[in-house]
């Protein structure tokens, strides 16, 4: 115990004294460069966890949500613009992104313990998983949808009558947000009994 204390004391004495041999300029510049490298490295590593390759490196994601995404308009469409996992599931704003990444550490636990490692387990958890995302998107006013789908750029005359009617009323006055109506657009919906009565068989 005393040894550790002595070691800590030694460390503090070194840190608290001004540098004898190294110039202030050297320390400042090297500190700055080290900071840039550390910060850049941190963000690059985090961006790597935002790639589709990373997300689909687990068979849980590759075989279930990613397979379902491929039949939808967010993967295959006439203009070839597409969304990858993180476009919808990770906030673009830095602080929100960090918060989401910390939450995702729980998902790493799920991966290690095999919470959804079979199709059956995935189906059993599908409602809960979907509800997590609906709650998140409801709370942030469908921010991830709006990163691409700008309300101000929507031309109602180019929409179908039904779409224009809903978008110009409920969406425009903030009564509803994207996710309220557009559930299950990128992945299959679970049995919605208890969520939206009348849309699922008993």
């Amino acid at each position: 115990m005393k040894k550790i204390f002595n070691l800590l004391k030694l460390g503090w004495t070194i840190l608290s004294k001004p540098a004898v041999h190294l110039s202030l300029g050297f320390l400042t510049i090297s500190g700055f460069i080290a900071g840039v490298i550390f910060w850049g490295g941190f963000n690059t590593a985090m961006e790597l966890t935002n790639t589709e390759e990373f997300c689909t490196s687990c068979h849980e994601m590759r075989d279930n949500p990613f397979m379902e995404l491929q039949t939808t308009i967010h993967y295959s469409n006439r203009s070839g613009v597409r969304a990858i996992c993180s476009d919808c599931h990770v906030p673009h704003n830095w602080t929100d992104k960090i918060a989401r990444k910390m939450q995702a550490s729980k998902e790493v636990c799920g991966m290690i313990f095999g919470t959804i490692d079979t199709r059956e387990k995935f189906e059993a958890h599908r409602l809960q998983l979907a509800q997590n995302e609906w709650t998140r998107l409801k709370a942030n006013d469908s921010l991830e949808c709006r990163n691409c789908h700008q309300f101000d750029s929507m031309d109602f005359t180019r929409q179908s009558k039904r779409a224009a009617a809903q978008h110009s009323s409920a969406l425009a006055n903030g009564e509803k947000t994207c996710i309220d109506c557009h559930k299950g657009i990128a992945h299959k919906l679970p049995n919605m009994e208890g969520v939206r009565e009348g849309t699922s068989p008993h």
Partner: protein
């Protein structure tokens, strides 16, 4: 030994009949000429041989005008006047009912499905859509903006009644 002989004779007869028919048939039934007619309904490949890749026709636009079509007879399930591509309709979820359920008619302004959809086969009313009516597209279909492949010769009930009245007068 005798059996083998009979077998041989019958095989010979069969072969003879088949050979004869193959000579006679092309001249009597004009199967070839039917196959060569340009628009075929039976197969969208037309008359293209099996080993030839044909260019598929352009996919027609789905009617999406939200206008009710006339029903040709009282029991006809109304057609779907809008696009339903990628609508989920499986044992988990029915996208149609997301708007057409009775309880969502106010927010969606979509026609609520009729009360018959809530009846079981004994005519009893259920709280939810009857399982036998659950899969909407078994009866209700969307329409394409395309030319019909065959002429529709359907005569509706009103016309039949008119015709019979006209006959009675004469």
């Amino acid at each position: 030994m005798k059996n083998t002989f009979i077998n041989k004779v019958s095989t010979f007869c069969m072969t003879a009949v088949l050979a004869a028919s193959s000579i006679v048939l092309p001249s009597t039934v004009s199967a070839e000429t039917v196959m060569d007619d340009a628009p075929q309904v039976a197969t969208l490949r037309g008359t293209a041989p099996m080993n030839v890749e044909v260019t598929p026709p352009i996919i027609d636009k789905v009617e999406n005008n939200d206008l009710k079509r006339k029903r040709d007879y009282p029991q006809q399930p109304p057609t779907i006047p809008h696009d339903i591509s990628k609508y989920q309709l499986d044992k988990n979820f029915n996208k149609c009912m997301d708007c057409h359920a009775r309880k969502f008619a106010d927010e969606s302004q979509a026609p609520a499905v009729s009360v018959t959809h809530y009846m079981n086969r004994d005519g009893e009313f259920l709280g939810e859509v009857s399982p036998r009516r659950y899969f909407c597209t078994q009866c209700h279909v969307h329409q394409l903006e395309s030319e019909p492949l065959v002429e529709n010769e359907f005569v509706d009930m009103n016309k039949l009644i008119q015709q019979s009245h006209a006959r009675d007068k004469n």
